[in-house]
């Protein structure tokens, strides 16, 4: 399974530097960060796959839904690249399983620490000082951000090395790894339903003085009923191939507008 790796340190760094400025900038609801993943890893994959067809296959693999905190993603993408460099197209499923399995946890850690905690600490002080015309902490904050860029490049490289090691250790058990990771990925996917699909209804049922919230009735029937139903319907539609994803998204936007207009969803 494992073969000569072809990527150099410079290749890895180049991937990191293509990833970082683009990260969420191609974000869409169906691909999420996949566009940027392709953009960032593309040249490195080209080096791994000299054969055009394998290259396209690998690209298509990376066009699959991916979303993590853009800083923490460096670790995951680095490792995925390592697995791919070591395992080649045969490791395609392992690469995908690996990315899906880790993206959820990385999003959780990154969002709470880097998107919430870090700017809350820096911002509360820098903001207060700025009101008094003091710019010091703002500049320090800026400098810290720049310093972190170097850390992020290093994280990508660290990920790459861990990935190659992982695969060379596993040997011919990559198929087993793939299946196992897909189990983890599916657990994460199941957990995403109630945590990212936030569909609730503000409808109430008023009778005399008593007001009943429809949402609480739904919660009694089944927790997170609306997100589960929505996921199920979308999943069925996609599987059936009867409706393209773009059309599906337009339908959802249309439904959202109608439901918002009539106060059915919020």
């Amino acid at each position: 399974m494992s073969k000569e790796t072809v990527l150099t340190k410079a290749d890895i760094r180049r991937c990191a530097l293509r990833w970082m400025p683009m990260a969420v900038n191609t974000f869409s609801y169906q691909y999420q960060q996949a566009g940027t993943v392709v953009f960032a890893l593309g040249p490195a994959l080209r080096k791994i796959y000299t054969n055009d067809d394998e290259y396209v296959e690998a690209l298509n693999n990376h066009f699959n839904y991916f979303n993590a905190h853009p800083w923490m993603a460096n670790l995951v993408l680095g490792a995925a690249l390592g697995i791919e460099d070591e395992g080649g197209i045969a490791a395609k499923e392992a690469v995908q399983g690996f990315k899906v399995a880790l993206m959820g946890p990385m999003a959780g850690i990154g969002d709470s620490l880097i998107w919430v905690l870090y700017p809350t600490i820096m911002g509360s002080i820098a903001g207060s000082l700025a009101l008094d015309g003091n710019i010091t902490l703002t500049l320090i904050w800026l400098a810290l951000n720049i310093a972190f860029m170097f850390v992020r490049v290093w994280m990508f490289q660290f990920g790459y090395e861990s990935g190659t090691k992982l695969i060379s250790v596993l040997g011919d058990k990559v198929a087993m790894l793939t299946e196992t990771l897909s189990v983890l990925g599916l657990i994460v996917a199941g957990a995403l339903i109630p945590s990212v699909v936030k569909i609730t209804t503000p409808l109430t049922y008023t009778a005399g003085e008593s007001v009943t919230e429809i949402q609480s009735i739904l919660d009694q029937i089944f927790p997170f009923l609306l997100p589960v139903l929505a996921t199920f319907v979308c999943y069925r539609l996609m599987k059936s191939n009867k409706v393209s994803i773009s059309v599906l998204i337009l339908i959802i936007v249309a439904i959202s507008m109608v439901c918002a207009a009539f106060g059915i969803l919020s």
Binding site: D111, T120, A130, L184, I252
Partner: protein
């Protein structure tokens, strides 16, 4: 005070860079107080800029785009507010009066950009399959351009047409449109999750999907907790598969022995 044409353009570029940087390099423009330093340099009134930056920074503490959600973009609000404060006679109050609504409006623009990006990336994938790789890269590079425009356009209106015009546009937007986009931003993540399920063996391991759901729906577990439980399940499953392989290898060996 009037803004020179260069100043105007610089401000528009700065506003446009806010979402681009927020979604990418994270130089820091997503945080109002940092943006205000640059806005202050451009209009040449650092104290006012810092005051506006500090105000909006404190106002935006804790707000962050998580899981692809769209949130008010106070970094853009800062640039608008600094520009208005510098040009109109109304000072900081006038600046914030326009800057904050614009920051809020970014929620809707962000949804539109993310919807458009869907088409972009889809096109890029098509090009990839046609082996037009440079076309693919070019297409993907339109992503940041879209991000840029979401902020640059309202900024340009504010700078060239004036703050009142911005307010007029804001008020003209119908409620079903803005509200609808807000609802859409909450519903659309379902597409990604459903897609995820389609290209993984969701049927074979449906129990795994249910487990993840139960952990969050019934135990309000964090994603990290889910990942730890997931790791436990994986270790067990790995051990099981290894056992199974060993056993079948065993039978195979026996089968082969027979053949001889």
């Amino acid at each position: 005070m009037e803004l020179s044409i260069v100043q105007s353009i610089l401000l528009i570029v700065l506003a446009g860079l806010v979402p681009v940087d927020k979604y990418g390099m994270t130089f820091g423009l997503r945080w109002p107080v940092i943006t205000s330093v640059f806005a202050g340099l451009i209009v040449g009134d650092m104290p006012t800029a810092l005051y506006i930056g500090g105000t909006l920074q404190l106002m935006s503490l804790g707000i962050a785009s998580v899981g692809g959600s769209s949130v008010p973009e106070y970094g853009v609000g800062v640039v608008v507010a600094v520009a208005i404060a510098a040009t109109s006679g109304g000072g900081v109050e006038a600046g914030l009066a326009i800057g904050i609504p614009v920051a809020m409006l970014m929620v809707q623009f962000d949804v539109i950009a993310k919807l458009s990006c869907g088409a972009l990336v889809q096109h890029a994938q098509k090009l990839a399959n046609e082996k037009n790789f440079s076309g693919m890269y070019r297409t993907l590079l339109c992503g940041p351009v879209l991000s840029f425009l979401t902020a640059a356009i309202p900024m340009a209106i504010a700078v060239f047409v004036g703050g009142d015009m911005v307010n007029a546009v804001l008020n003209a937007l119908p409620a079903w449109f803005t509200g609808g986009l807000t609802v859409a931003s909450k519903m659309l993540p379902v597409v990604g999750v459903a897609l995820l399920l389609t290209y993984m063996p969701a049927n074979k391991f449906f129990a795994a999907v249910m487990l993840g759901f139960v952990l969050v729906a019934y135990f309000s577990m964090s994603m990290l907790g889910v990942a730890i439980v997931g790791a436990i399940v994986c270790l067990v499953y790995w051990g099981y598969c290894a056992d199974k392989n060993a056993a079948s290898a065993n039978s195979t060996v026996m089968g082969e022995l027979e053949d001889e």
